[in-house]
């Protein structure tokens, strides 16, 4: 297995620049997930690593070797496509063995490797079927098998689960995680589903408009976001953002007044005390940190205009459909009904502050 390093990559399609200077590194055997809203350039970045898109500038190196302009096949990588991209006219075995055949490997040797991979993915009794005779999940596994057989330095996944139904998606997610553990391979995985990102990734790269917003472990991004975009993107449902003002400083924490929630003097510890305390800030608090029935000094009452009951938990919305709505996570058995109010506790330790530019304070 090998590590992957990108430095200052640029790429534009015609006039629009899609990748505007991306640098990152993936350690050998690390599972790195590129995540971000659609159109942020995550797939393009993956295709640049694969060699399917030419990089305008910057370098890509795998295992220390500069492969920026090398042919895809010679980069020591394998890719699993969103649409599986299996050869419809070839059997499962031929599909999986095609790469090795191209590399000039003899037939018996090839068949051995294909059989091994098939066993790993329990595809052994489908080897001579055609792709159209398989289910979505099976086809996905054949696509993965095709990648495994090449024993690449780096695996590339391009939203491989988006075409599967919810239940199968969970199952395949666990299989990919197990695969990563068994092979210990370096994997680069692109998805727009942040649940996949949180569950699979050793390291997450959040991208927006062709630039890296933040790189870090799932928990790091969840609990220590660098900016408002990352804070809002990671975690579902989204973090609440409320306008607030700073009334003073008290033993290392900023005293925050939130007129909208008639809350005042909330002591929030910034990540780093700014030289001059800003007058206005944005308070960020996750729905799951607004706990029902908590004692604590700081409590707010929220009007329930919509409630979603998911069984174990329920979500309360103060202004459903409006971006500025406050969302609170309540116990599944909560008796709150629409047009009633509920009082929830605010835990200052779980709050975040962002300046007007959206940067974390």
């Amino acid at each position: 297995m090998a590590e992957l390093a990108l430095s200052n990559l640029h790429k534009s399609f015609g006039a629009t620049e899609v990748i505007r200077g991306v640098s990152l590194a993936a350690q050998s055997g690390e599972f790195v997930v590129f995540v971000g809203p659609s159109g942020c350039g995550k797939s393009t970045l993956l295709r640049m690593i694969a060699g399917l898109e030419r990089s305008d500038s910057g370098t890509i190196s795998i295992g220390g070797r500069n492969v920026t302009t090398t042919d895809p096949a010679k980069r020591g990588i394998a890719m699993v496509f969103q649409t599986y991209a299996l050869y419809p006219h070839m059997s499962v075995a031929e599909n999986m063995g095609f790469g090795l055949e191209m590399a000039g490997m003899a037939r018996p040797e090839r068949q051995k490797l294909v059989r091994q991979a098939a066993e790993m993915l329990h595809l052994t009794d489908y080897l001579d079927r055609k792709p159209r005779q398989l289910s979505g999940g099976q086809r996905q596994r054949v696509a993965i098998g095709r990648a495994i057989v090449r024993n690449p330095d780096v695996f590339l996944f391009d939203e491989p689960l988006s075409n599967l139904d919810a239940e199968l998606r969970v199952k395949m997610r666990l299989e990919i995680a197990k695969l990563h553990k068994d092979l210990g391979a370096t994997m680069i995985y692109v998805t727009h589903d942040q649940v996949e990102a949180m569950t699979l990734a050793d390291k997450i790269v959040v991208l927006r408009a062709g630039l890296v917003e933040q790189i870090g472990s799932p928990m790091q991004l969840y609990s220590d976001p660098d900016n408002r975009f990352v804070a809002g993107f990671i975690g579902s449902p989204r973090m609440n953002f409320i306008d607030a003002s700073v009334s003073g400083i008290k033993d290392g924490a900023l005293l925050v007044d939130v007129p909208e929630l008639d809350l005042s003097g909330l002591p929030v510890r910034p990540r780093a005390m700014p030289a001059k305390a800003p007058a206005t800030v944005t308070l960020g608090i996750r729905p799951e940190h607004l706990s029902e029935g908590a004692e604590g000094p700081f409590r707010i009452t929220l009007a329930c205009n919509a409630i979603e009951r998911l069984g174990a938990i329920s979500y309360l919305y103060t202004a459903p459909g409006d971006d500025a709505t406050i969302i609170a996570q309540l116990k599944g058995a909560s008796g709150v009904r629409v047009s009633e109010t509920v009082t929830v506790g605010v835990d200052p330790e779980a709050c975040f502050l962002f300046d007007d530019a959206g940067q974390r304070i």
């Binding site: 399917l52 096949a73 990588i77 496509f81 006219h89 191209m102």
Partner: protein, 275 residues
């Protein structure tokens, strides 16, 4: 999708209309070829032949060596088909999938090939073939047929290539397959139905060509079916029976061939690429 009664009635009417429009003329010709001369040109013609005779066929095979024309036509049509495909497939793949300067311009000039009145090509081509000693030789016809079938074949193959998802080709690139292998091992098998359709198009174009064949071929032994057939039309007297027999015999082989591969032609057109 079930259809309302009105639509069904319209459907039956239209189908009946086209069965008559396409089928009836051929029925008249084939049935006519077995009638005695008097019945063919009788002033009140018969739908179902009352008389039966094989005299026209006998005269046909005496007056002209039809089997020779048939063989010549098959040779010319088959080789035209093979040569057309050998030239069209690589070109269509390059035009469609590979990016190279002047691609759009070259592709459009190829289609312009149909802008020339074929007659204008006849004169200089005859001169060219005469110089290289190709006049009165079957390869000359093959060259002409391929020239006229090639542009359309390239265009048709291009639309079939459009049916192959781009990811499949990218997967092959990732698998380390060089361009020519991608064409041979991946693209050609996937557009096989399309290739069958283009092959049949080239075959039929060569099979039905008359003008060039009538000018370029001089000796009777090298004539193709259309020219051989027009030879028996004769100016001084019209023997409808002989003509109908000739027409029937000219139809039979191509109908037989089409019975075998016709379905492929249509499904190729409609499905295009293997899904």
């Amino acid at each position: 999708m079930n259809r309302s009664l009105g639509l069904n009635a319209a459907l039956v009417a239209v189908v009946a209309f086209f069965v008559v429009l396409v089928g009836l003329p051929f029925w008249w010709v084939v049935s006519g070829s077995f009638k005695i001369p008097q019945e063919i040109i009788a002033r009140s013609p018969t739908m179902i032949p009352q008389s039966f005779t094989l005299q026209h066929y006998q005269k046909l095979f005496e007056a002209s060596d039809y089997p020779v024309y048939l063989v010549n036509s098959l040779i010319v049509a088959a080789s035209s088909t093979v040569l057309t495909l050998l030239l069209a497939i690589p070109a269509a793949y390059a035009f469609f999938r590979l990016v190279f300067p002047g691609r759009g311009f070259l592709y459009r000039t190829i289609l312009l090939a149909y802008a020339f009145p074929s007659i204008v090509v006849l004169i200089p081509l005859f001169g060219l073939f005469a110089k290289v000693g190709l006049v009165d030789r079957l390869p000359a016809l093959v060259i002409v047929n391929v020239a006229f079938a090639l542009p359309f074949s390239i265009w048709m193959l291009r639309s079939f290539l459009a049916g192959v998802p781009k990811e499949i080709e990218e997967a092959a690139v990732m698998d380390g397959a060089p361009t020519l292998t991608i064409l041979r091992r991946i693209m050609i098998p996937l557009i096989a139905p399309g290739i069958a359709s283009v092959g049949i198009y080239a075959f039929v174009t060569a099979w039905t060509e008359y003008v060039f064949a009538s000018v370029l071929i001089l000796s009777d032994a090298k004539r193709t079916l259309p020219v051989g057939f027009s030879g028996i039309i004769g100016q001084y007297q019209i023997d409808w029976g002989l003509l109908l027999a000739g027409a029937t015999v000219a139809i039979v082989p191509v109908v037989a061939i089409f019975a075998l591969i016709g379905r492929g032609f249509v499904s190729g057109l409609t499905e295009g690429a293997v899904k």
